[in-house]
Symmetry: C2
Subunit: 336 residues, 2 copies
């Protein structure tokens, strides 16, 4: 059994799609209990339209909502009765095992560290979304808001990312690579040059060296290590180039009558292919290294992504990811 | 009249496509004189297959070739008779006005600084490729090999990029933005935070603030300022995501008979659309701020891209870009 607190008020399609996703999750899996956090009256009203096992969903009232554009540190400090703060406190007080939100990334990152707190030994909790590749998915770690990382942070990211990909995504000996501007060890900025030999020396991860950004979409590594500024650029450019190209393809297909007829014929097959390259369908991005699980789902998540993010929490808990992270960091610090 | 030294030996399709591109360039424009630098016998043999005005192409012998994988500093130092070193010396000695190469990026960057040399006042010469967007092209500055830049470097990049886009690409008041992980001034890493107010204070550029990577493909800015590590990641991911998506679209279209028929119908229109999003067709990336013009064209350039890169040099010279850069930096340093 897992208890997942879900932010009913966060995201572009809140509360409707969030609530629908929560209902779908409990219907799909009897081991999940959802604590829907938000303005009680609104949430109850929307919930009343669904049929589901009443034992699997509880509503927890939170009167306030943190907007995406609010400065995060301030929002977390001032809005004590917001769905994000209330949801995170449920995790902190062990009333919930995980918290899922499609709301303000900044507030989730700050709240995760300030309210839920770090696992002992974790220097910096990374946000690690899955990104689609030609062959499957890769974990991009870190895409959070803590920029200007140190080499030791990146080494921890590599360890935590490996554990996640191995035990949540079932990838045997995940290949770990560091984002660089060339394949050779001597290439890169100061951070990469310092981190490279440290990763090479880690016996507990399968480090395959540098990865150039061009190789990321080909699926050349399972865990892609970088500091948050670079990770953020990669994640957002992925979305931007993808969206632009797809819109170009659509425009191209509407160019003349001949193409329009062709478009009708290719559409079904093409839709499936492009869907497999849509980052949002891979559930949420975990904020790793916290005393409890915090998952950020894409701001434009609909019911399906919310459901996937909730179900993902179950695997995370069953596999004891946090325990594995603790062990791994303890072993590493013993060696030092 | 402009004299362009062209590296006949550099690039995936050298010397055939390079020579073909040089011939096309002189045929298209009578004001261009090409100095084809490379192994004389090989070059002359390939050239003999073309008809062109013999006054417009001269062959300059260079016995050595720098391979892409050679460590650049060493290659420039040791291979004094390589096409890159010989070509750059032609620019240094004012026997050529520009040098175009599809060869080793590293060697071109090193050679540009060491042999051709920087304009007085230029702290670091940036490599600035044009990237395709939904609405046209943007200049991505810097994508070179000099990582760990300082704020003052980025300010110079913004100035040089503005001059280039205004006078070579004919964009009135080019919009300059700095790559960041959020739109607000207080966001970013230490470098961006320090650079932001400096750019804001520049009266001679049209600074529009931060740009998130997601907005780059939409054409939200004309000059995209970043340090080389980030620029490199952006450039290569652009290529990588584009290539992967296009291959996905192709596979999707071949999924079944229905789609195959549709594909035949949409193909012509789609080809044009996707071509407009192909980075390689926009000629070469100038290495700005040098005593002479050095242009790096894509390693996989064919005749058409080589021709475009050569013709681009003419606009660069006619517009007196280097003189404008000198004036702009002199004015800026007076103010300080």
């Amino acid at each position: 059994m897992i208890r997942v607190a879900v932010d009913a008020m966060g995201g572009d399609y809140a509360p409707e799609e969030i609530i629908a996703g929560a209902v779908d999750a409990v219907k799909e899996n009897k081991e999940i209990k959802v604590l829907l956090v938000g303005q009680e009256q609104v949430v109850r009203e929307k919930l009343s339209g669904f049929t589901y096992d009443k034992n699997q969903i509880t509503v927890v009232h939170a009167s306030e909502v943190i907007a995406t554009e609010e400065p995060p540190v301030n929002a977390i400090r001032k809005k004590k009765d917001s769905s994000i703060v209330v949801g995170m406190n449920l995790v902190k007080n062990k009333e919930a095992d995980a918290f899922v939100s499609a709301g303000s990334s900044g507030a989730i990152l700050v709240g995760g560290q300030v309210i839920v707190g770090r696992i002992k030994g974790v220097e910096r909790p990374p946000l690690a979304p899955l990104i689609p590749t030609e062959t499957g998915v890769s974990l991009l770690i870190d895409c959070g808001a803590n920029v200007d990382a140190r080499p030791s942070h990146l080494v921890q990211f590599a360890r935590m990312g490996s554990i996640y990909m191995e035990h949540v995504m079932n990838i045997n000996r995940p290949r770990v690579a560091i984002v660089n501007i060339g394949a050779e060890e001597e290439k890169g900025n100061a951070l990469v040059k310092e981190t490279f030999p440290l990763l090479k020396a880690c016996k507990d991860i399968h480090f395959i060296g540098s990865i150039e950004a061009r190789e990321i979409p080909h699926g050349a590594a399972d865990v892609i290590v970088c500091e948050a500024f670079v990770g953020n650029v990669i994640l957002k450019l992925y979305e931007g180039v993808g969206a632009t190209l797809i819109s170009k393809v659509k425009t191209g297909m509407m160019a003349d009558l001949r193409s329009k007829i062709g478009a009708l014929l290719v559409k079904p097959a093409l839709k499936d292919t492009l869907k497999s390259f849509d980052a949002s369908r891979y559930g949420g991005a975990p904020l790793l290294g916290l005393n409890g699980l915090v998952v950020k789902t894409h701001g434009n998540s609909k019911a399906n992504e919310v459901k996937n993010s909730i179900i993902q929490c179950l695997t995370f808990q069953k596999q004891g990811i946090n325990e594995k992270i603790k062990e791994s960091l303890a072993k590493a610090s013993q060696k030092e």
